[in-house]
Symmetry: C2
Subunit: 211 residues, 2 copies
């Protein structure tokens, strides 16, 4: 089993944080996505979606998508569970993963790729295409983030982490929401004190220390 990843990119780091939390060591092949190494052979054909990270199993099967890689690893290393234990807990973790991914991370990643000059010819992940960067994606991300945190704030009272009193893979996704907001200079809405406490807790967590 081998992980192909770019350790400076958020989706690579989501897997790194997961490995840190679970104290798993993997064979890692570093592909420099800034230089487009994942777009060259043999990597290009290994993952038709041309993104990193992806995990190659011993039988040659390739699993891409950071959370699917984590889910696979949870299956073979169940201790220190990060996807929840009971069926109910697992559904709650899955729900928060989706809410965070769809309502916060996705619009933020769109905003980054549509505003940061470096992404000019790579607005769509895993491509080098001529797609215009459009500022509206930043504006829309700000609207969505404000809505997202207003909803999260209400739901947070009495909980230590986003899914309850246990740290989960959803908290890892949450960390990268705050990291992308820092990059784009988007603030947490003033009234969201539970959210601010959550952010502070995540930024102090050992598994989430990246330069």
């Amino acid at each position: 089993m081998k992980l192909y990843s770019f350790s400076l990119a958020p989706n690579g780091r989501r897997v790194t944080a997961f490995l840190n939390e679970k104290e798993i060591e993997l064979d890692v092949v570093e592909l420099n996505a800034r230089k487009g190494e994942q777009l060259k052979e043999p990597y290009k054909s290994m993952n038709t979606f041309n993104c990193v990270p992806f995990l190659e199993l011993d039988d040659g099967t390739v699993i891409s998508e950071c959370l699917s890689i984590c889910r696979y690893l949870e299956g073979i290393h169940p201790s220190i569970p990060l996807f929840g234990e009971s069926n109910k807990e697992q559904a709650i973790v899955d729900m928060w993963c989706r809410r965070i991914e769809l309502d916060a991370l996705t619009p933020l990643f769109y905003a980054v790729r549509n505003t940061v000059p470096f992404f000019k010819d790579r607005v769509l992940a895993g491509t080098r295409m001529e797609i215009r960067q459009e500022k509206i994606f930043l504006e829309r991300a700000i609207d969505m983030i404000n809505l997202f945190f207003t909803r999260v704030e209400k739901d947070f009272s009495g909980k230590e982490f986003i899914c309850g009193n246990f740290f989960s893979v959803a908290d890892i996704s949450g960390f990268f929401v705050f990291a992308a907001m820092n990059m784009l200079k988007i603030e947490i809405p003033d009234h969201c004190n539970n959210v601010k406490k959550w952010r502070d807790k995540l930024f102090k967590r050992k598994s989430l220390q990246f330069d």
Copy 2:
């Protein structure tokens, strides 16, 4: 256990299709999202994200997000598995769910909400806010769909369904990609014959017959 859903909306229908496939019957409370019933009490407080569908468990826990609801139901009704059986299969299903959701369904749903006049004051799901509809979201969805299917096409040879030779919850998500494309009059790229066969197979499937 009670499901709150709007049976005419894609995310409601994703759960309906899942129930059909698994032959599960649930108590369903129909909330008319067009009339904003999910924004009124007691529903508003039950799901702080103010969307349907959501599932209320007997202990009062609420699970929102269509795929998280399906995942919970798979846990208590494991027969006719739709999330895969082995750990490897489950990772593959999860990967395709994410690829379909992030690279196809999400941009299509953005496009629908940013172009269809009905969604003028509800551009963000579960709100009634003044957010401008922007045509760029349709243009971007078309670029993303073309890229998505070009990638899927390469990966489809020899497979009966998107994850292999078994029908899964990822195929249900795939059906709603094609349904949204029909609504927006977006075509499958000409060269994608495997994709066209997949669409035809899904449109004939018994669990996916709506109106």
